[in-house]
């Protein structure tokens, strides 16, 4: 026993000499970033949590759950975010695939189409949709002109308008993680599936899709997180029936000047999102195992 004990440190020392040792001083280089994050992110967050419990009372949270309006808004926020995320996933997966497979001019066009709107302000793009989708807008004029409808169809002031506007803005956040993952997939894997006798459909569902799950996961989480906090687009394109929680929070600050209650709403949003993402991650890891083990 003593032999082992005396041997171990010697061997460890030998291994450590081979490996470049990380001097503890390097850690200091992280300090500015950590300080910045603490000051502008962690501290305000904790402050908001504190503000939501005035005099250590749960009154604000009771109000959220007791008032059907708030519950309805939270449900509607999640519903809108889910629809937007699903729309982005469906469109974004195909788009990312096309982008990864294309070369030359096609690649340039697809990349620019994706990234150019990214550089235009969200506000501007939201108003552009307003112009396009309003009753006298381009889309309705075209539908009427084609004789598809007599009266203009309501495309804004409802969930449709919100989903269109938000999907447009959030699409890159879904496409970019998917492109990153798809680029890493060895094209020979699909050939291997094909030559093994798998139809294109089977190759996709058994090989390609499981390998892109990490991209789907990060894209979905990113899009979902951003959708849950959306403010401008639902405010401009939505109606009274589909108010989102960010609008309520803004309203509590701007109109009611109730910092405590708006803080409670914000904390509730964080908690609900965390629960939703936890459940989502669990679901995905289970389905991943299932796909791999079939």
């Amino acid at each position: 026993m003593t032999v082992f004990v005396s041997n171990t440190p010697l061997r460890d020392a030998g291994i450590n000499r081979l490996r470049p040792r990380t001097p503890d001083g390097w850690f200091l280089l992280l300090l500015p970033t950590l300080a910045f994050l603490f000051l502008v992110f962690l501290y305000p967050l904790l402050y908001i949590v504190g503000r939501s419990f005035p005099d250590y009372s749960l009154a604000n949270y009771e109000r959220i759950f007791a008032t059907t309006l708030y519950a309805r808004v939270i449900v509607s926020t999640f519903k809108t975010a889910l629809i937007v995320t699903a729309a982005c996933l469906l469109m974004g997966y195909a788009y990312a695939y096309a982008l990864v497979r294309s070369r030359g001019v096609a690649l340039a066009i697809l990349s620019i189409s994706l990234l150019l709107p990214f550089w235009v302000s969200v506000l501007l793009r939201t108003f552009a949709w307003l112009v396009l989708l309003q009753d006298t807008g381009l889309v309705n004029q075209m539908l009427i002109g084609l004789g598809l409808t007599d009266a203009p169809i309501s495309l804004i002031r409802n969930q449709f308008g919100v989903v269109v506007g938000m999907s447009n803005i959030l699409l890159p956040y879904m496409v970019l993680p998917l492109v990153a993952v798809m680029r890493g997939i060895d094209p020979n894997l699909m050939r291997a599936a094909t030559i093994s006798g798998a139809s294109p459909l089977r190759s996709f569902f058994r090989v390609y899709l499981p390998l892109t799950l990490p991209g789907i996961l990060s894209g979905t989480v990113l899009t979902m997180t951003l959708s849950l906090g959306f403010y401008i687009t639902p405010a401009v394109l939505g109606g009274s029936g589909n108010v989102m929680i960010a609008q309520l929070i803004a309203d509590q600050i701007n109109q009611q000047v109730n910092f405590a209650f708006s803080s409670a709403l914000a904390v509730a949003l964080i908690i609900f999102s965390s629960v939703a993402f936890g459940a989502f991650a669990l679901l995905l890891s289970v389905s991943k195992k299932k796909v791999a083990g079939a």
Binding site: N188, L189, I195, S196, G197
Partner: protein
């Protein structure tokens, strides 16, 4: 013998680049054919045409006499081992091998049984549940081979199967691949740029050069009777000496710069005309002796040279010697103890008339 696969005048262009022209090959059932050639010579393109990943512009592709032009890759019943193995990273070794069976609608129990059996054949019966990232290069190679053979394909394609392995493992895997594919009586087409691998493994070699077939034959034929200087140079090592051919009665006289070779006319290839030719002689066909400065006419089938370098290879010596015209020839000396050939000494390298090949210049 039925032919398992026939290539009839296959051609393929990419834009203005003619990647392949007029490739015709006839592959027998159970044959191991290697497509050999430098990179960009068209061997991989040919493999992809057979697999169905590319469509030929010209020519026909017949499997057991049936044209497979319109049959998509996944219905061709061809097996393939990829250069980087292309194992599915999210599946275990067992699931990788069972995948082709799954694609063929074989039940879960049956495909598990067959995949297990196949992994046993490649000596991986103990690593069924490992994921590819947990396997070594050689083990991945075996899984890839098992996946390509488990469904009893008409033809198995190997794309540079040993390219990613180190030299020692490569040698043992060469014999292992032969053992396994022979056991199943599989018809195999292997692609490689490693001529040694081609010599060891193949029943026949198809040597590619610039999108066309330079020569098709057994390893022995390619080595001993190369059709042209490219084949002589690519397969094995060779000394190529420019010379002039004249026929005198039953004797062919090949005259070079400071040397003379004589051989029976019937050793010349059919259609070889008098005039400029190239004499090919392998390093191991040359014997070294001390230089004697005798006149060329008195000592046919030999050449005088100056030793420049002696390379010790462990099992043999390799002597690099310079001819009077400046070019270098190589001589293999099997006896490593013959250390008398020191640099700058004059030596005489001689050959038997049977061991040289006269090629079109």
């Amino acid at each position: 013998m039925t032919s398992a696969l026939q290539l009839e005048g296959l051609g393929k262009s990419f834009g203005h680049f003619r990647a392949l022209h007029d490739i015709s090959l006839d592959l027998q059932q159970g044959e191991f054919l290697t497509m050999l050639g430098p990179s960009g010579s068209g061997k991989t393109t040919t493999l992809q045409l057979i697999a169905g990943f590319l469509q030929p512009d010209r020519g026909r592709l017949l499997m057991k006499g049936r044209d497979i032009a319109g049959i998509p890759a996944h219905r061709r019943n061809i097996g393939m081992v990829f250069q980087d193995y292309a194992l599915f990273p999210h599946m275990t070794a067992l699931d990788n091998v069972a995948f082709p069976l799954e694609s063929r609608g074989i039940g879960k129990l049956e495909r598990r049984r067959r995949a297990e059996e196949m992994l046993g054949v490649v000596n991986l019966g103990h690593l069924l549940d490992r994921y590819p990232r947990q396997l070594s290069g050689g083990q991945k190679q075996r899984v890839a081979l098992a996946r390509a053979l488990v469904y009893d394909p008409e033809v198995v394609l190997l794309d540079e199967p040993l390219g990613a392995l180190d030299k020692k493992l490569r040698t043992s895997m060469q014999l292992e691949i032969l053992r396994i594919t022979r056991r199943f009586g599989a018809t195999v087409i292997s692609v490689t740029h490693d001529q040694e691998e081609a010599l060891v493994m193949s029943d026949r070699i198809a040597l590619f050069s610039q999108g066309a077939l330079a020569q098709v034959g057994t390893p022995k034929e390619l080595y001993a009777k190369p059709a042209n200087a490219f084949v002589a140079d690519f397969v094995g090592e060779s000394n190529l000496l420019p010379a002039e051919l004249t026929r005198a009665g039953g004797e062919a006289v090949v005259k070079g710069d400071g040397w003379l070779a004589k051989l029976p006319v019937d050793r010349l290839a059919v259609g070889l005309a008098d005039g400029q030719v190239t004499l090919m002689v392998r390093p191991e066909a040359l014997r070294l002796s001390a230089g004697d400065a005798s006149p060329v006419a008195q000592r046919p089938n030999s050449i005088e040279a100056t030793v420049k370098q002696v390379v010790y290879l462990g099992s043999a010596l390799r002597v690099h010697a310079q001819l009077p015209n400046g070019s270098i020839i190589q001589i293999a000396v099997p006896d490593v103890r013959s250390l008398s050939f020191v640099p700058e000494t004059t030596v005489r390298a001689s050959w038997d008339a049977d061991d040289v090949v006269i090629l079109q210049a």
